[in-house]
């Protein structure tokens, strides 16, 4: 997860898959909503945390902080643009 490209792939693909599945009625609204929340509240923070951890931005004991909505937004620049500035 060190590479930003991998990060984008891991972040984007499940979300695009979810949106396409919803658009083409492959999943119902409930399933869509459940997966959206799993994505937003568990998957996205997990991937973000792994990237921050792999790059030494945060320590292991702070990994779970990522699951607090909005906490890792202070690392937004690094997560999405690879820059260390806030």
């Amino acid at each position: 997860m060190k590479s930003i490209l991998n990060f984008y792939i891991f972040i984007s693909l499940p979300f695009i898959t979810l949106m396409l599945a919803s658009r083409y009625h492959l999943i119902g609204s409930y399933t869509w909503a459940i997966f959206l929340f799993i994505y937003c509240l568990i998957y996205h923070p997990l991937i973000s945390g792994l990237r921050l951890l792999a790059n030494g931005i945060i320590k292991k004991n702070k990994f779970w902080y990522n699951f607090i909505p909005g906490w890792n937004s202070k690392y937004f620049s690094f997560l999405f643009f690879n820059t260390k500035g806030k």
């Binding site: 990060f7 949106m19 609204s29 869509w32 509240l41 999405f80």
Partner: protein, 284 residues
């Protein structure tokens, strides 16, 4: 610039995704275009009240004054604020199959556990509904010309009269392929529409339908796929909230693209969207 590349990539992917999915939208009317015209090369001959949109490459409704076609969906939108007002259209149903479906559905209500005595009392009728109470001969179809998402097939109650402002209709919704579960609509002319589930009583009331600026958004989400491919009406808070979210992420052009991109970058967006939809559908 190199660092911006992933950011630009995800926007491009999002744009591509939304534009592709929008192209797959097929309105019921555009499926039945007359392709036998003698114009060469072949062009779609649009139905009455529609015209060909060269940008959308499909037939779109010719909007009345004060409205224009949305550049993405082709639907008529009010000049200025983008809301789609209701443009109700009605016609008689001559299709015997549809009428027979209504009749057989009504006749099967008793075996489906519907208590017609209780339902009649809740509707405020002075009698118990039977098949003879409903006019299955003069069936009408109603739809919103600005939103071709579904149509209502209604058999009015024989007790309805022009002298009485209160009317009742036995209604089933259809998307031209499937018929939904039946409901009863109680109307008070220019006042309200009340939707009754046959088993759960009053579901929802729409009080501003006669307003020229009325939009169907208040019942978005109440029309949802049920088990076995059927569709039913149930305006429960949770279902309406979820449908509102789906709607926001799918059917609002640039706003949907923005919601999509922002959620990928900032997941709490989805929570905010859910909260907004919940407030809109559950408390307001």
């Amino acid at each position: 610039m190199k660092k911006l590349l992933p950011f630009l990539s995800i926007i491009l992917v999002a744009l591509f995704f939304i534009s592709c999915t929008k192209n797959q939208l097929v309105s019921p009317s555009s499926e039945n275009q007359n392709l036998t015209g003698k114009v060469s090369p072949n062009v779609l001959q649009c139905n009455e009240g529609q015209h060909w949109d060269y940008y959308l490459k499909k037939c779109v409704i010719t909007c009345s004054s004060g409205y224009h076609n949305d550049s993405i969906t082709g639907a008529c939108v009010l000049d200025g604020n983008g809301k789609i007002p209701v443009n109700l259209q009605t016609r008689s149903v001559t299709d015997v199959t549809i009428k027979n479906t209504l009749i057989s559905t009504f006749n099967n209500l008793a075996s489906s556990g519907v208590n017609l005595v209780e339902l009649s009392a809740e509707l405020g009728l002075g009698y118990t509904i039977t098949a003879d109470s409903i006019d299955f001969v003069n069936v009408v179809m109603t739809w919103d010309a600005n939103d071709l998402g579904g149509k209502a097939i209604t058999a009015n109650f024989k007790s309805n009269s022009n002298a009485n402002n209160i009317g009742y209709g036995f209604t089933m919704f259809t998307d031209d392929t499937l018929m939904g579960k039946p409901i009863i609509i109680k109307t008070s002319k220019n006042n309200y529409l009340k939707y009754y589930s046959l088993t759960e009583g009053l579901i929802t009331t729409i009080s501003n339908y006669a307003s020229s600026s009325y939009v169907f958004s208040s019942i978005y989400g109440s029309y949802y796929p049920g088990s076995g491919g059927e569709k039913s009406i149930k305006a429960t808070c949770d279902v309406a909230t979820i449908q509102c979210m789906t709607d926001l992420y799918s059917n609002h052009g640039w706003v949907s693209i923005w919601a999509f991109v922002q959620t990928a970058f900032y997941p709490p967006t989805a929570v905010a969207v859910a909260a907004t939809c919940a407030v809109h559908n559950c408390w307001l």
